[in-house]
């Protein structure tokens, strides 16, 4: 196919509607940045849940040999099978508990090691004589509560049992963190939604104007037998260029957010939480669900363009 005309038209089209295209690009850019931040916050919530559990979970660490808690419950060293049976029965009988899972020493160790690697702090796990080993890692129960407010009964019952080292209960702190994340996530998505709708309207207007400006050419192209795709191509390319610029700007803003906002600021000051990394950034760009901005941007400009040009350019 001879595309010279298409590219000439693309250039004149972009120039002719420069202000419209700038408006589309800016709106798209801001909305995609917001959408991307929403995705990162969602990923952050997942990362935090994976490592700390959520506001419904408490972690019951069992005794190891030479337990660092020096609790009297651990006088007999590594937790025994009998002690575990008592603990399990207590958990099962509690009406505050929805469910529980046992996490072996190996599983717990592996999970901690993976997380340490994620934040590049795995030094304690490695070397000829590592500080952290499978032997020293406690087995544990993850106890899921029915409601985050009621756990006093089960906690006080377990605290006194032989074989229970420490109970990690971060419901309050986590509840607040997840609350903030939820607000941030939906806030940025709602903002992104409104702006994306605005972008959609602008794309529609741009096409209407472009079709009007080109109506003579379009009439002749139809008459001499140009294919519908060929006639629509300059419109589609214009939309694609706008989308690519919008996506590139948003990707830059998200990268800056990840670099300076997360890694240089938050991660240094808030160490008890694991933070999103560049893998999550990639998800925000290329993910399928929720759709990353690389998908979202072109979809938002190309789909309305296709629908509208079908209307204006119909043979």
């Amino acid at each position: 196919m001879q595309l010279r005309y298409v590219f000439t038209e693309l250039r004149t089209g972009l120039r002719r509607n420069l202000s419209m295209h700038l408006a589309v690009i800016l709106t798209l850019f801001v909305s995609l940045s917001l959408a991307g931040i929403g995705i990162l916050v969602q990923r952050e919530a997942t990362v935090a849940r994976d490592s700390l559990g959520d506001e419904l979970k408490i972690l019951v660490n069992l005794c190891t040999d030479d337990d660092p808690s020096h609790s009297p419950n651990c006088a007999s060293g590594e937790v025994t099978a009998d002690q575990r049976q008592r603990i399990e029965k207590e958990i099962e009988d509690s009406d505050e508990v929805a469910s529980s899972t046992f996490q072996s020493k190996e599983e717990g160790y592996q999970r901690a090691y993976d997380q340490a690697k994620r934040s590049n702090t795995q030094a304690a796990f490695e070397g000829p004589d590592p500080v952290v080993t499978v032997e020293r890692w406690p087995a544990a129960y993850w106890v899921t509560l029915k409601t985050p407010e009621h756990a006093d009964g089960i906690i006080s019952a377990l605290e006194g049992l032989d074989g229970v080292s420490v109970i990690k209960d971060q419901r309050k702190a986590l509840g607040q963190i997840f609350g903030i994340m939820t607000v941030l996530k939906y806030g940025s998505w709602i903002g992104a939604g409104f702006l994306l709708f605005a972008a959609l309207l602008q794309v529609t207007n741009t096409i209407r104007l472009a079709a009007l400006a080109r109506r003579r050419e379009i009439a002749i192209m139809r008459l001499v037998g140009a294919s519908t795709l060929y006639i629509a191509l300059p419109f589609l390319l214009e939309a694609l260029v706008a989308a690519i610029v919008g996506v590139a700007l948003a990707a830059g803003v998200l990268a800056a957010f990840q670099h300076w906002g997360v890694e240089k600021a938050l991660a240094d000051h808030v160490e008890f939480l694991p933070w999103v990394d560049w893998g999550d950034y990639t998800q925000a760009l290329f993910g399928l669900f929720p759709p990353g901005i690389v998908l979202l941007g072109p979809a938002l400009t190309l789909i309305p363009t296709l629908l509208l040009t079908r209307k204006y350019v119909k043979v």
Binding site: M1, Q2, R4, Y5, R216, E217, A219, I220, M221, R222, L223, V224, G225, A226, S227, T228, Y230, I231, V315
Partner: protein, 229 residues
Amino acid sequence: MIRFEKVTKRYPGPGRPALDQVTLDIDKGEFVYLVGTSGSGKSTALRLVLRELRPTTGRVHVAGKEINRMAGWKVPRLRREIGTVFQDFRLLPNKTVTENVAFAQQVIGKSRRDIAKVVPETLELVGLKDKGDRMPDELSGGEQQRVAIARAFVNRPMILIADEPTGNLDPQTSVGIMNLLGDINATGTTVVMATHDHGIVDQFTKRVIELDHGKVVRDEASGSYGFQH
């Protein structure tokens, strides 16, 4: 080449149909006038051939294909076999003569080499060899119509459709345009020309199909415009 079988075309709204049970048959290489008063249905018949419109009932065949049942994506191929000329020329004002003619080739994907060869040939054929670099508004009406004919003919279509091509031109210029259409017809191209220009029809005697209120009232192999007008 073109066959209408009991074609009726009704536009939305009340009133009689624009075409009413029209049956006609035009062979390859013929030159046919479609005559009749304004509103008799000439343009509607031509637009049916281009499949800009579909008949309400009846069938339209072009080049052996029943085009009213043709899939939409095939319509561009059909139109490449038909050149079209209008009363108002419809040139692109911001392109030169050469660019206007080349446009018809570019947008159907002809190669640059083909275009560079065929466009000057076609401009020579219509007598505008030296005016390729002019803009349309620097040309007379007759010259503009020649550019439009060059554009319609540059892809060497099987059929040339002309809707009142001399409607905006003085009689002397019209004669030049008619000679040109005659030359194109002589290359084997079927020409269908809608007109209500008596002088032309009587001077260049061809087959005449007369429409009146959407009905064919006359079809003469070698007719005049008709004394009743």
